[in-house]
Symmetry: D2
Subunit: 278 residues, 4 copies
């Protein structure tokens, strides 16, 4: 199937190809069209709107302590389990009062350790004086496996669970908190208010690849946001594509990355991060 | 494939069938062997032993409150959302101090409402003076969908997540707390001590059937025990078979049932039960 | 995550929204952005090129006869099992010498019967004097379930296995014969020459939906092209989107449709169509 | 859950264990019950009977020729691609008139090459003078991956698609031609008569394992028997267990094995075997 609406253009481009082939007869590698570039807004879906619910309230300082077999990625003291993503050096985000906060402009931070399948607990807080709207309000993200060092393209961003303030702040449904960014809308909006702590409990199954580099099985993820299921063993379609269509590229174990989004709003904070390898 | 060891017997039984067919020539319905009966111990697997871990400790009275879209099945006051499984009458388990306790001999209790896919939160406590060993120690169960009223056989028990005291109490691995009883061993043993509250967070996807009654897709379940993943979107193989091989039989929405196991040990208690339909 | 490149525009549109909301204070339904329109070429991927193989040669008149439990959709005689898609009237394609041929301009034809899961055998022939290039060369399609009568939008096209001449004719990989059109590239190119008969053996599992209209499980399809596997239980992402991103909309049993593509090349023919309900 | 019927026995065995532990206080490795042994007939299910259909008839000498990318495992001339399973030596089955026939007592034969995922075409013939009943009638099998050299136990048999004469010969449904032996009944019985050639077209996806040896994803198989779907991406539960419950054990690429079943009936023949790696 294709529709005649686009008929003239491909034919012209094929004529172009023929001429080119003639001129470069010894270079038999045919040139083929690149996919036409897209715009970000082409993959931003505002409808249907995600239902808003109120999660159960927990005492402000109640944190789920790590089980005995967990790798504690942040225990309130330091960022020794993390490094700067861009240069591999020290993670420069700010640790204070048992939490750490994005230090704008210092860049994303990644775990030193690489992971495959895991259960992850992570808590994050939107500052109570947050400003901005839509995506420009407390934007960050948890990249579940970040193979960008091993796989140079198509993207620096892979497998993101969105972090954003969506308490009384609507954005495109497939880009709000609890979404697989631009891939899968959360089942409900279970945000807590700015100033309160949000919790993600994430069960992640890494993708598997065949020897020839093709995909054997996609990544899958379950996300529980403040005790409420928002993704149920959802299939991840490939890298996190801000523009265009996601796809996969073979990689092995990879770190987890947190995003310094760099938007002009107030920086967000994290605490109580632990992980169990599965 | 089959192995000659069983050769004589089937041949004899086929001879038997031939004679029978001859004698009852007008009844063309051939009689075929029934599967040979099994014993319970044939489906009890003690090895490999499940790794024991210590879940994170929570304050004794800390309960995860229900989100705003939950159906509260027990809020500490009464069993008005439940009925006796055997006669449909009042649920006779004992409510006291915000919890309810199995009243031995009164039988299983089922929700009045029927469910399909859901997220369930349920807390349960083994009494601190529990006695007994292996399966005879605080045995109960959460039957995730109980169609036994609609489907008269093969069983009264369907899709059980085991409830049992496995704190320093070993039993067969596929029958311990967090197992899909006799179907799937939990990933780890995350029990709390008798006298402390255990929590199950369960994500259940009901089986689907075709019009002809055959299975379209099996039930699947994720179980988080005290904050620790013990079943990850695990496939359920059919009804809960204490004896023999599980299989499916077509059914629709069904209640959740809790088991009055009736063993001689002390009765267990439940609290804070809520469910979100998915 | 989002990238600041698109920052100004959403902010402006949000300002726009605020003004609009003020002016129409009694109409509380907020207006939200529509996804930006796409172009067809944005979802046409030429690379990587699909490997070309030669399928096993079969005698020209060798057809796989239907098994005893098949519904024969075309036995060489007439189109009595088919109707015109657009008006429900008689299927006007031309039957001759045991095959039928697209009668250009008469429109698509659909089976009178509706189906869910099935195994389908269908044979198709590109005329030996075919002309054109890329998509404009023997284009047609098998729409595995066509709910367009029940579901008025987003599309008239659903779940297409592409029919096209790709013997020495390259096109975008996700639009060539054996592709799930614009969704999934075939594993290999197993085309026979124009004038020879191609065979599709297709195993189709229909999507299932929840009561609320959301998707329970996507459609899946296995395609064997001339005896060679080209799709292995591949997931279908939604309707066949010539432009844009596919998605699902709840529907029930639906007919199979064959496409009168209307391109200027020679019309293609079909024979020996049978189906077994699963 | 467990039923009191088995209560006394486990308690006694636990008492036994306690005494044993006392006597061997320095050997802290607790002894646990082995699963009780089963009988073959416990996993033989005759009901419901599989529907019998008649597949499409093909000319006696019509074989599907291999595509250009196939590995031809038998082209009618010799068994050079095969070896004896038991000693690795020459495959001693008898080649004559373009087919090869089980030479009873010479043992199973395996491919020299090891495979993972593939599409397999294999033709097999029950001799026209076959005798016997139930399983004792033309019994053989295709073992889709045979890691028995790498994995010494639990079994010499793995992932079998049953080969048997079930033309007017009933046996247990999960052990007839087209079954995954003792795991999955075929959708229909599509047998051809003794003396005619049966064809299996098989799409096999190998199991994947995690580093720790646990199962990541089970093997899956689609089987088309004489052009008729009998297994649709069916899950394989583990090794082929003539007695007991199947389970998995980690392995890598493995050969395909054909069974010399050794029963007293006439030996069966094979021809036209080819495979495409996926």
């Amino acid at each position: 199937m294709y529709k005649p609406i686009s008929f003239v253009k491909p034919i012209l481009s094929l004529i172009g190809l023929s001429l080119f082939s003639f001129a470069h007869a010894q270079n038999q590698q045919a040139q083929v069209p690149e996919p036409m570039p897209m715009k970000p807004q082409m993959t931003e879906f505002w409808e249907p709107e995600v239902k808003v619910i109120t999660p159960g309230a927990m005492p402000a300082n109640q944190m789920m302590p790590p089980p005995s077999d967990a790798i504690v990625l942040f225990d309130g003291k330091d960022l020794s389990k993390w490094r700067s993503k861009k240069d591999g050096g020290e993670a420069k985000w700010k640790v204070e009062n048992g939490v750490f906060t994005v230090a704008k402009g210092t860049g994303d931070i990644s775990t030193k350790q690489k992971f495959e399948d895991y259960q992850l607990h992570i808590e994050w807080q939107i500052p109570s004086d947050i400003q901005g709207q839509s995506q420009a309000r407390g934007n960050s993200g948890v990249f579940l496996q970040d193979p960008s060092e091993e796989v140079k393209q198509p993207s620096d961003y892979w497998y993101e669970v969105q972090v954003l303030d969506n308490y009384n702040n609507r954005t495109y449904a497939n880009g709000q908190a609890g979404s697989l960014y631009k891939q899968k809308t959360p089942l409900v909006n279970a945000m807590r208010k700015p100033g309160e702590w949000n919790v993600y409990d994430i069960i992640y199954t890494a993708p598997r690849f065949k020897e020839d580099g093709s995909l054997f099985s996609p990544a899958r993820v379950t996300v529980i946001h403040n005790g409420v299921l928002v993704q149920n063993n959802a299939e991840i379609r490939g890298h996190t594509a801000y523009i265009g269509i996601p796809f996969y590229k073979k990689h092995g174990k990879a770190p987890i990355t947190l995003q310094d989004h760099g938007d002009p709003s107030k920086p967000i904070s994290f605490r109580n991060i632990w992980l169990r390898e599965l």
